[in-house]
Subunit: 475 residues, 2 copies
């Protein structure tokens, strides 16, 4: 097995920093939740770094990047590895830069918090509690995900029903990123410049500090509302999402039989055949929520503030039934499940959802997340799919697109193929400036790797570095 | 001059309560901002109560209502008299029930505050500051308006861009209302029952306690953005309103020449011919606001956090340039100005606004308020109108309706004619229960006064009691 990178020289350059080179442990840290996707599982299974480095501050990050730059070693940043598309997986090996030890909350002010990138979202919220504030949004992996990873690899989640997505103006206030150069610079980004680095997978800078906006801390009430059919659940979810006066952090709809089959700890409360809406409601909006719900077809199956303490003790929080956790719960019961990421655009998302739901039967199990988008309620989908073959998966995706849904393919490891299927000129230009040698998280930005790639040709991007590395590992 | 009511007997019944019967002072207190409307000014100019009573607590309210009920004397409640449609004007005289002395903030909790009805909105916010909270919304008359009057006579205002209107679920949490019966009852309303009494002008119960939801206290930055034309200002306002991640409390657009002509204290900063967007932005969203604004056609003319203290000292807060204060400022400069209340419904409010704006030239000066409505951005209008005759005013209203705008006629003193032009069955049913003799704020609910009134006949409702009273006063 050949080693292309001079790791020994790198170690000598960085001195006393914490590193890990035990191959088993390095491989563990080189993973995220890519195995949600049978496609990525096949493609990325051999991926591993050569070494994991864990800096404790920006000066050490700069030292790592300077050394790696001089030695031509790729660097892939990692928060907690809770991504789903290999965001933090080092496709060509090299250095895995773990930001987990940079986890301090540095400053709390009215409306904003400044943290190191490795700070866990749940820990940030804990530290914010005394100021009566909380993060506007977090992924369902809140308990283990870091704020830097969320900004670099996520797009929104719990809280998006009120605030929209991470890339909307105002949902990230500031980022400090270090460049991959002989003399790395630390750049402070704000305003429109934030778009250079948000959701760029660390391909154009290493985030060393994050400033996030806050909302009023709220003791959210977890509620689950049951419906006889998915169509009724979806319609109710959309209408609840549209209640501007009802303060909420989450509105999710999940089709039968997922709730009774996959939500193991909640099973006792879910009548067979139920589709459900899962929500988080502010206590001072609960009366309004109930008044709104009463004339609907739904039945409140669960409200956490009324549940017995012994019941609550056994239950995960509602947000761990939603977003990517819905798929996770399904996978734990049925390993053949995978998923899609969809958007059902106006003018009539509910009609489109019904059509798609009816088209696939049990092969595609509906899962909707209601969010704000450009000032209105938008419906995102993370439908669960019973996987058979990659060809069938592609056919299901095409059928969705043909019916009018937009698919953000979670079975691709590149920014473009998982996103808008086009070059992000701002992120590309920033990479030219911050990473002229293309050493940051290689293989994730097609626009950099292969400027002539034709997104309309219907072919997957295959990163040559990934193939070469896999071959070398096998050899 | 005949007096129909036995005020002496009433005074004997209520004992030592504070009352006012000096006719000049009583007439002063029998007024609101009805004179915004030349129509209401003509119709209501003679209106006055016989006596003003100022209870200091619910027990005294009950004593007043019991006595008035037994003596058959009408009772019209009043907060601060900041309404615009005669909401608090006693059309048939009788008792004006001033709630101004019931102004205590009774309880502050996370997310909600409970007050007596006469508490001023600005005072409530002052008392909330220590808890890091503020009211979700207030009218532009925040400095003088009471919370009870707001709930009974208002519909939304500053804050509606985030939270929707007062009648949306969740924007009022609780009301306690006293009935007009021989033995008045105090009823606690919550959930869907709130719709019985919100925006009912006190026709079906006297509000003695209000519980309102709260938001995080924010040191709002007042900004004014200038544009060369109203169309550009309207488009920018709509787009700013649609920025889900930018925390804001107000987005207003006002067409030239109103800003330079009527905003006297802001004149120096407004280039001639400018249409403006007036907004309140959270400090932690200001960077995002600027990043959003920079590529627009607008120019930031004013941002309060950058203004010199001596500049700020001379300026009213931004919200006192908006909602009904826009008209007020116009009236102070040009007494011939009056106004309309409009909604420009989907699918293309901006196109409709442009069409209307072009149709009337200088006779109708555009004024838009962006609000949330059913989960999306809605455009309300309070256009200023150069008044000539009532016939012309009606023609302008009809032309608006013919082009597709909805008009909520502010030149009418009844609930229905100023609103949806139909019976509110819930409020009517509640009045049957709470005020069987029809003594509360008579003449305001057509459904009660004249169940056979045909809203489609195109005729104004004329309350016979008002005419009789005016005649008696003249006689």
């Amino acid at each position: 097995m050949t080693r292309a990178y001079d790791i020994a020289a790198f170690r000598a350059r960085i001195g006393a920093m914490r590193v890990e080179d035990n191959p088993t442990l390095v491989k563990q840290k080189s993973r995220d939740f890519y195995w949600y996707s049978p496609v990525l599982k096949r493609e990325l299974d051999a991926v591993t770094a050569d070494i994991v480095v864990s800096p404790t501050g920006e000066a050490e990050v700069i030292a790592v990047l300077a050394a790696a730059h001089d030695l031509g070693i790729p660097v892939t940043p990692r928060g907690s590895g809770t991504g789903n598309y290999g965001q933090a997986m080092p496709l060509t090996g090299g250095i895995l830069l773990s930001l987990a030890d940079m986890n301090k909350v540095k400053a709390i002010a009215p409306g904003q918090v400044t943290c190191e990138p490795g700070a866990l979202l749940i820990d940030i919220d804990r530290e914010l509690a005394a100021s009566g504030q909380e993060l506007r949004m977090f992924p369902s992996t809140r308990g283990t995900a870091s704020v830097g990873g969320f900004v670099a690899g996520g797009s929104g989640g719990v809280g998006s029903i009120t605030w929209g997505g991470l890339r909307d103006f105002g949902n990230v206030i500031g980022l400090r990123v270090v460049t991959m150069e002989g003399r790395p610079r630390a750049l402070d980004l704000s305003g429109a410049d934030l778009h250079k680095a948000i959701h760029a997978y660390g391909t154009n800078g290493i985030i060393t500090e994050v400033t996030m906006p806050l909302a009023a801390r709220t003791d959210w009430i977890d509620v689950i509302v049951g419906f006889d059919g998915f169509e009724a659940a979806a319609a109710y979810g959309f209408a609840l999402a549209s209640q501007d006066g009802v303060l909420k952090k989450l509105v999710t709809a999940v089709a039968a039989p997922a709730p009774e089959t996959y939500f193991l700890r909640h099973r006792a409360m879910i009548p067979p055949g139920s589709s459900v809406v899962i929500a988080m409601i502010a206590p001072h909006s609960f009366d309004a929520f109930e008044a709104f719900t009463r004339p609907s077809k739904g039945k409140v199956l669960f409200a956490s503030h009324r549940a017995a303490p012994e019941t609550l003790k056994g239950l995960p929080p509602n947000y761990e039934l939603t977003w990517n956790h819905t798929t996770l719960r399904a996978l734990r019961v049925d390993p053949s499940i995978t998923y899609l990421q969809a958007r059902y655009p106006p003018p009539d998302p509910l009609k489109l959802i019904k059509r798609i739901h009816n088209a696939f039967g049990d092969e595609v199990i509906g899962h909707l997340e209601f969010v704000r988008f450009n000032g209105r309620i938008d419906v995102a989908g993370l439908p669960m799919v019973r996987f058979t073959t990659e060809e069938r998966l592609d056919a299901i995706i095409r059928a969705h697109e043909d019916m009018g849904a937009m698919i953000f393919n979670p079975h691709r490891y590149t920014l473009e193929e998982g996103g808008m299927k086009q070059t992000d000129a701002i992120q590309l230009a920033f990479k030219r400036e911050t990473d002229p040698q293309g050493l940051l998280n290689p293989g994730k930005m097609i626009a950099w790797e292969d400027p002539s790639f034709d997104f309309k040709a219907g072919k997957n991007f295959l990163f040559p570095g990934l193939e070469a590395r896999a071959e070398a590992a096998r050899g």
